[in-house]
Amino acid sequence: MQGEMTRRSLIGHVLGGLVGTVGVVGLGVNQLGARAATGGEPFFAERYQGRWITGGGPQAQVELDRRDRGVHGHHGQPVVTVDGVPLHVMRGADGRYVTSVNHYQSFPTLKAAARAAAESLRGAALEVAA
């Protein structure tokens, strides 16, 4: 597991990407609930059960630093992270979301999917999907 400073730095990259996409540089974390100009689900970033969860989309484009994690979000794809690590998330035909952590349940919003993942993890760190 990486140190606290590294983790914070990664979160900074994620939030930087989110803010850049919305086009409202300088927003604080608490203001990220605003609906993205491009549509889709409102961005969110919150502490939930001791975990830092963020997300947005499906039209968000969130670039994670490839040097840190080797992963980046694509345009048109929903993105969720838990403590800065991307969670594999898929949008179903009914608009609900399924993740690799809760593969047999669907959730109405990305935030609900992220919170469920945080609950299921019980403190464990997500592993980046291959």
């Binding site: 593969h103 609950e119 592993e127």
Partner: protein, 274 residues
């Protein structure tokens, strides 16, 4: 070759099943099955190619997946067959299924770690390799995220479906045996059991939990019971966008089609078969 209800297994049958599982784990073959399942779980999409989940081939894909696994077990011990878990009957977290001489019990509250039985992390014989998070030990949260298993009445309702599957052949198909048995619509059978067990069973790497095989063996049995009533049909007959037709090869095998899998009696029987 007869597949039996796990509740009827003798102590010796349970011990030999467990020993064969541990041997496949030791040699690394077990984790090949986990990885295969996880790869399909990640890529099966309602709007793209789908084979193992959210698709008409959910049932034949898993039938073949279980057959491959059962054959691997039998290379270790020819007397072993896959048992099934009838969760309409064995509904309690105190069932003998979860006893220390078989699959072990639920996980502890703090992190979900299974502490009893032959698959508990502390035995050192069941390390979780293919996974979605940092926990390297088997996890369960029985009855925590889902209070109740499906009932016999739920099963009867689903088995009354006249069609095998319907368009759009994904998780939004509003009727048909396949989607109601998979659980995205209707009373929720297969999906609900994964969530009821929790821990690794709730993830795309669900075969990490040995109960995966017993659960899917029962799903396979329910499909056979539906076929006995409604005929061994498969839909769609021909390939449609994202899904295979009855005579199309399924990945990862490449030479196995849904219609090859329609008659389970070509490979095994169930103790409840007529």
């Amino acid at each position: 070759m007869i597949r039996k209800n796990q509740a009827t297994l003798t102590s010796e049958e349970k011990a030999r099943f467990v020993a064969a599982m541990l041997e496949l784990k030791r040699t690394g073959r077990y984790d090949e099955f986990v990885v295969t399942h996880q790869e399909f779980a990640m890529s099966d999409s309602d709007v793209g190619d789908r084979l193992a989940h959210r698709a008409p081939s959910f049932l034949p894909w898993h039938r073949r997946f279980l057959l491959d696994f059962e054959r691997a077990l039998q290379e270790v011990d020819p007397a072993v067959t896959l048992p099934y878990w009838d969760w309409t009957d064995d509904r309690s977290t105190r069932s003998s299924l979860w006893a220390p001489d078989f699959l072990g019990g639920t996980g502890r509250t703090s992190d979900g770690k299974v502490m009893t039985g032959p698959f508990a992390g502390d035995t050192g014989k069941w390390k979780i390799i293919a996974r979605t998070d940092s926990r390297s030990y088997l996890c369960r949260t029985l009855a925590v995220h889902e209070p109740a298993l499906p009932t016999a009445e739920d099963v009867l309702k689903v088995l009354a479906e006249p069609r095998y599957d319907v368009r759009p052949w994904n998780s939004s198909s509003s009727s048909g045996l396949r989607n109601l048995l998979e659980g995205w619509r209707g009373p929720n059978l297969h999906n609900r059991v994964h969530v009821w067990v929790g821990g690794h069973m709730a993830t795309g790497a669900s075969p990490n939990d040995p109960v995966f095989w017993l659960h899917h063996c029962f799903i396979d049995l329910l499909w056979a019971q539906w076929q006995a009533e409604h005929g061994a049909s498969y839909e769609p007959k021909r390939r449609e966008p994202g899904v295979v037709g009855a005579a199309d090869a399924m990945k990862p095998w490449g030479d196995v089609t849904p219609q090859d899998m329609l008659d389970h009696r070509a490979f095994y029987t169930y103790d409840v078969d007529e």
